[in-house]
């Protein structure tokens, strides 16, 4: 009987009830600073017809929609400041509803100053990571000159990753499936402030998500996606580095591929140019089940020596970035390799220093990080471009 009453109440016209409009801003997140193009999405619930929904950013009107979906893309600029996003919905009879959020500015200790050089450092001894070092254990040299550390952190620093998964025809079947499981494992193990983008490529982009923290958002649309096409690594490593430019904090590219570049429009030299100007770490998971088959091949675009040189430059880019190359000889090693990268990132040291000899002349500064203990292996970015 009570259920019947409830149903009747729900079915009744709402004229006698108080009109209400509820607005919720789904994105951007209040946990992350906003820069450049920002996607804004709102949800509006009302018991009356919604006439229009308006977006204000920092009290300036930035868009008006007369029906769902209520999504906008606005450019908020590159300044490191708080931004106020307000969505106002207007319904019949003058009813309104609003929601406001404020995105934070980046705290000074997270900000990448043009002069502050940040180094993400992995230290190992006998292939095990060393986790008990203090800032006094490190020595940083910039073009041979020792520089004092001004920031030092250990453990988790939020990260933004681009997971580049080769989906060319040679990856068909278990290789691609394992790669996607690896990507899923990576994202599932991320912490709340971490974000990742999944980019599936062959000789073109087959699928790319936005940066997100949600595993579902990364992997759900992939049902039925077939590995297809040849391999263009250079173009997509560059693209990943470029997309990470707009992000703050620690940036990571994870490249998973079973092949070599066949016909990118960008040469590896151009990617190296970008890698040297990026603070991103590049990790290369190189699936090589049948022993090295990368040594000699020609294409219509490059002869065998040129292709060899491209591979060597990719290796150089990875090493200079402070990342590493992991050669995987079996598909079973793929998923653990993705997990291992995330673990490694969690156990890095973050060192910051102000270079004392900046000239802004575009020259390359060699950076050398040493640990004053025996048996330590140190891996960090190999330098930076002075500009």
């Amino acid at each position: 009987m009570s259920a019947l009453v409830a149903l009747l109440l729900l079915a009744m016209p709402q004229t006698n009830l108080e009109a209400k409009i509820e607005v919720a801003i789904l994105q951007p997140s209040t946990l992350q600073a906003a820069f450049g193009d920002v996607d804004v999405e709102a949800q509006v619930h009302a018991d009356r017809k919604i006439l229009e929904v308006e977006l204000f950013v920092d009290d300036r009107s930035r868009g008006l929609l007369d029906g769902p979906p209520y999504r906008w893309r606005v450019d908020v600029g590159q300044e490191n400041v708080e931004h106020r996003f307000r969505v106002e919905a207007r319904g019949e009879l003058g009813t309104t509803g609003t929601s406001t959020i404020v995105t934070p500015r980046i705290r000074v200790d997270e900000e990448v100053n043009v002069q502050l050089q940040q180094l993400y450092v992995t230290v190992t001894r006998s292939d095990s990571r060393v986790l008990d070092l203090s800032e006094h254990d490190f020595r940083v040299f910039d073009n041979g000159r020792r520089e004092p550390l001004v920031t030092f952190a250990r453990g988790d620093v939020p990260l933004t990753a681009v997971l580049l998964v080769d989906s060319s025809v040679s990856m068909k079947g278990e290789r691609l499936a394992s790669g996607l499981r690896g990507a899923e494992a990576f994202v599932a193990s991320m912490k709340p402030l971490d974000e990742a983008m999944l980019l599936l490529f062959s000789d073109q982009i087959l699928h790319a998500t936005a940066f997100t923290q949600q595993t579902d958002a990364l992997l759900e649309p992939l049902a039925g996606l077939e590995a297809d096409g040849n391999t263009a690594i250079n173009d997509h490593v560059y693209l990943a580095l470029k997309l990470l430019d707009a992000r703050q904090g620690r940036r990571v590219v994870v490249l998973f591929t079973d092949g070599a570049d066949l016909h990118s429009v960008l040469g590896m030299e151009e990617v190296l140019w970008k890698a040297r100007r990026s603070q991103a770490l590049i990790y290369w998971l190189r699936l090589d089940e049948g022993g090295s088959r990368y040594t000699s091949f020609a294409t219509a675009w490059r002869d065998a020596p040129a292709n060899r040189a491209e591979l060597e430059m990719l290796e150089e880019s990875v090493i200079q970035s402070g990342g590493r190359i992991a050669t995987l000889t079996s598909v079973n090693a793929i998923e653990p390799a993705f997990r291992e990268i995330l673990l490694e990132l969690r156990e890095q040291y973050v060192l910051g220093f102000y270079p004392s000899s900046v000239r802004n002349d575009g020259s390359w500064h060699h950076v050398n990080v040493r640990v004053e203990r025996s048996g330590m292996k140190v891996r960090a970015r190999g330098g930076y471009v002075d500009f």
Binding site: G36, D37, Q78, L199, S202, D203, Q204, I205, L206, A208, G229, N230, A232, D235, Y238, L239, K242, L243, D245, A246, L262, H263, S264, V265, L266, E270, W273, K274, A298, T299, A300, W301, R302, D303, A304
Partner: protein
């Protein structure tokens, strides 16, 4: 008709095949025709051979080759009547049985046997040979997929012999063009694994039909994929352009190879002419990429950017143009624009065929055209073949 020019190719390919295992050593199932030799042959359950095929009896009977010839003739009669896949399987199985475990000794005998049938048919009307060489062309693919390496060679040899017989008996330009098409199609298939052999076949194509587009492009692409020499690529492309001066892919490849030879101004002029033409096909998009790369290499970043901006307007959200333009903006310290283009690339739809991948692959449009023409021609000659076989053959074998 003696096989005078097929044999050298066959022999030249044999060393490359020496290391490959025979199919018989790889799989020996109850449905494997090789099992006939030890009396354990069972027809495959999913595709039982039609009742008129008597391979087991044939191999057991004396006068084996004569019976094989008869079965082959009956197979030809079934062209256009039976399911093509099933018919191909039947003839393929027959050939497997025929060469048995002595392929090098028995293959020439098998070829003679099949050619004897073909010669006899050609006396009635040489046009009958079109569906026959089409059949052996398709058998090449059948043997390739079942890894019957010797029979794969046998198919190459048969197509060449039958094409030569057809040219001899039919005479005329049309016959030469059709023969050229079947050889070009076969060469196109050979490109995947036997590239030098494909070049030799393409050269034979051009001897028959100097206007065959597939052959010029096939040879040029072969040398390009081997890393040159660019002079040789240019020479073949020039021959193509003598026949087809407006050929867009030919001009694009010529420009790319001129650039490799250090003739940047000539390359730039060729790219510019292609960019002036209407449309935004893969040739246009690739010409835009390469012309912009050339500008950038010469330090003309602004020109490269302007060229790519214009190309992007024409080619929509082409991913590669977006990435290339993003990089140039980046290099030009236009960080905001670079980011915008990177986002555009990320959101761009993949093309049906990426232009650089198309260039690096084998030129297939001309070959597809050749194959379609041949398919139509073969279908139109099948009834003729059936009529002649009906007249020429004895009573149908149907136990």
């Amino acid at each position: 008709m003696r096989r005078t020019w097929a044999r050298p190719l066959l022999v030249s390919l044999l060393p490359a095949l020496a290391a490959l295992p025979l199919a018989a050593q790889e799989s020996r199932t109850s449905s494997d025709p090789w099992a006939i030799l030890d009396g354990t042959y069972r027809p495959p359950p999913e595709a039982p051979p039609p009742p008129w095929v008597r391979t087991q009896e044939l191999i057991e009977a004396s006068g084996e080759w004569k019976a094989l010839g008869e079965t082959y003739r009956q197979s030809l009669e079934r062209l256009g009547k039976d399911d093509r896949g099933a018919l191909l399987k039947v003839v393929a199985d027959l050939e497997v049985v025929a060469i048995a475990d002595q392929p090098e000794r028995r293959m020439p005998r098998l070829a003679e046997l099949q050619l004897d049938v073909a010669r006899e048919l050609a006396r009635h009307d040489p046009e009958i040979l079109v569906p026959v060489f089409q059949l052996h062309h398709d058998l090449y693919l059948q043997h390739r997929s079942s890894r019957q390496w010797y029979l794969l060679l046998h198919s190459v040899s048969m197509v060449r012999e039958l094409a030569a017989l057809y040219v001899k008996e039919a005479a005329g330009t049309g016959a030469k063009m059709n023969a050229a098409r079947i050889l070009a199609s076969l060469a196109g298939h050979l490109q995947a694994g036997q590239q030098p052999a494909s070049v030799k076949l393409f050269e034979e194509v051009l001897a028959l039909d100097p206007s065959n587009e597939s052959a010029y492009l096939g040879i040029a692409a072969h040398y390009e994929k081997r890393g040159g020499p660019a002079e040789q690529v240019v020479a073949w492309l020039k021959r193509l352009l003598q026949v087809y001066p407006e050929h867009r892919e030919g001009r694009l490849r010529l420009a790319v190879n001129k650039l490799r030879l250090g003739k940047a101004d000539e390359a730039a002029a060729l790219f510019a002419a292609l960019l002036e033409e209407p449309g935004s096909d893969w040739v246009y998009r690739l010409a835009a990429q390469e012309a912009a790369r050339l500008h950038a290499r010469r330090g003309r970043i602004e020109k490269a950017i302007a060229l790519l901006e214009k190309a992007l307007e024409r080619a929509g959200g082409d991913q590669k143009l977006c990435i290339q333009l993003a990089f140039l903006y980046d290099r030009n310290r236009q960080s905001f624009d670079a980011h915008r283009l990177a986002e555009l690339a990320r959101g761009g739809e993949p093309a049906a065929e990426a232009p650089r991948g198309r260039y690096n692959g084998w030129p297939h449009e001309a070959l597809d055209h050749d194959r379609e023409e041949l398919r139509r021609l073969a279908e139109s000659r099948v009834q003729l073949l059936a009529r002649v076989l009906g007249r020429a053959a004895g009573p149908e074998v149907n136990p």
